[in-house]
Amino acid sequence: MAALTPIVADPSGYQLPVMQRRILRYTIYIGYLALTAGVFHGLANALGYAGVSILGWFPALQNYYQGLTAHGVANVLIFTFSFSNAFLPLMTARALSRPLSSGLLWASFAALVLGNVLAIYAVVSNQASVLFTSYAPLQAHWSYYLGLALVVVSTWLALANMLVMVRGWRRDHPGQRTPLLAYMSLASYLMWLLASVPIAVEFLVFLLPWSLGLRETVDPLLTRTLFWFTGHAIVYAWLLPAYISWYALIPRQVGGAMISDSYTRIVFILFLLLSIPTGFHHQYTDPGISTGMKAAHGFLTFGVFFPSLATAFSVIAALEIGGRRRGGRGLLGWFWRLPWGDPSVAAQLLAMLTFVLGGATGLVNASYTMNQVIHNTTWVPGHFHMTVGTAVALTLMGIAYWLIPFLTERQLWSRKLALASSWIYTIGVLVFARGMISGGLEGMPRRTFMAEATYSSPDWVLPGIITGVGGSMMFVGVMLFFIVVGMTVIAGRRTGAPVDIPVSGTLSPPARSGWEPSLDRLGLWVIVAIVLILIAYAPFFLSYEPNAVSPGFRLF
């Protein structure tokens, strides 16, 4: 095989200053703690569909929907963004062999912690049982909105840290291509920066002043539209850090190679451009939005499927190279030769396989009129537990199996338990999703305490039981993960020498001339993305007549 082109400035290694590494470690801990805390009510939800209520086991819990709010906030907001706030700057620093800005690192960490404290206070005291989507006019305590806004601010500060690093590196290396690993990390959070502006407006301009009594009423459709303006792109903000691992790290872990530098950059640019102008496909059944706008966003949603298809090819090709070098033969023989005994690899391979089903069910969600069959049914959580709930969550768990040893300089506590965690979780999520998806097709509603519902349908009984069984396995999987990570931190054997991050190289190198260097001009691509967003959303915002008719309701 030809020599690989590095995707970092210095392939020989780089270690961050100890203090910076410590802050990144604590940031990561917040994320994995949030994952673990959040799945307790995940178990209660799944069993609720099986007709079993275990709320009595949670003495601090005042009602089902308080727990459901905690599940959503902890697992898709705090877990994902805490992880990314540490992972993306770490990848950038490794790629450029430069330290982070300590000031920005502290500021980002402080905003994340303070945001968590405020949001946890509001949720635990049952003053914010509005679910993570925060739809007005259900009104939460102001500390909930401010807390989540601070979490968003912490992501902006993490992005600022990466921008400072990349700008500094470019200044010192004029005319050179930005190392690919830094490029992917920066592009991910630049996309999120654009995507997060609408939810920041929703929270800071409307919901926070409204919860403080400074605004009497809000417009429920307008705030909901702002939420989904961010709300679809947010799933790509969760997914792209996992893609970075699949593209840039997993090939090294399996002994393969990244395929192409430019191709990878183009995929990340496509996500930057196409992730955001798609939000109305979450509002297909909403009143007050024209069917033309809904159709336009539907087509764009199919468009953003394309870079994921491209990713499938690249990632599988990188795996195949690894599998064949390890002696795999034939059409699929290479697949079984991948290092399935490495818990970090096994978790992420299982995450990728599950993502195929997640993507396919996502296309159904996006399918315009077909959405009327499954909107707000359990089909939707069935779908997204295979995307964010597995493709992202299980990848982030798999990353932990090298990242926690890397950050603590301790060996992973138990490879066997880690492997068991991933397999139990994956089998669990496939069973769970089978239950939720079949129930959803029969109209079983999501976000509903079925164990105490006053209505029922015979068609929901079996899907509910399957959901409960699968959800219980997922819970066991995450608990095993927590034990492995916790024991690694406390009791893992100390490694003498510092280890490096598993960084791959590419088969086809970045070009130094021609059109390809213009891929690095992310500022330009951000402007193109803004133009696309304006085209996709301006017709709605210019023609919509605000109807701020809703005072706050606290029905919890």
Partner: protein, 171 residues
């Protein structure tokens, strides 16, 4: 930039699949007249009792074989909680919320709408099969959310003259 021939083939096949999906959707919407709710006007949720048609929730025949059903969602019930409509007729549901977000989903049909305070939701459907259909709120609306349901009773048409034809007529 080199793109491998297999990769070109894979992406081309992917594009064909996506274009096929989009064509099927266009056919469903324009060829078979299956529609999503769109813009149907605004309303003040604090003043529904004085705003037609929400001042008189319920069923009314607007033309031979055409009915309107006006429904209000409020925590945690629908008004009216039960409606009777004939099979084989075009039924237009006109609904809104008096307080927070609610859902409006009729079991076994494609009638699936959000009820948003300030906005009017509207969609048309023809029930071919008589029977009882469960209407549920499928958007979280407070701690009593799982108790919010209603019923649509579809009665065999008096004339018995329903013909089997397009399941989802134009709305």
């Amino acid at each position: 930039m080199k793109i491998h021939v297999y990769e070109k083939g894979f992406l081309a096949a992917g594009l064909v699949v996506l274009i096929g999906c989009m064509s099927a959707l266009a056919y469903a919407s324009f060829g078979r007249h299956i529609h999503l709710p769109g813009v149907a006007g605004q309303v003040d949720p604090r003043n529904l009792s004085n705003t037609p048609p929400f001042d008189q929730p319920g069923v009314r025949e607007v033309a031979p074989g055409q009915y309107e059903v006006v429904v209000i969602g409020r925590y945690w019930s629908f008004t009216p909680a039960q409606v009777r409509v004939p099979a084989g007729a075009d039924i237009t549901f006109i609904a809104t919320s008096a307080d927070v977000l609610h859902g409006f989903n009729i079991e076994g049909t494609r009638l699936n709408m959000m009820l948003i305070p300030g906005q009017i939701s509207r969609n048309t459907y023809r029930f071919d099969e008589p029977g009882e259909y469960l209407l549920i709120c499928h958007e979280y609306c407070g701690i009593g959310h799982h108790t919010m349901a209603g019923r649509v009773i579809v009665e065999a048409a008096a004339t018995g003259a329903t013909t089997t034809g397009e399941r989802n007529p134009g709305s």
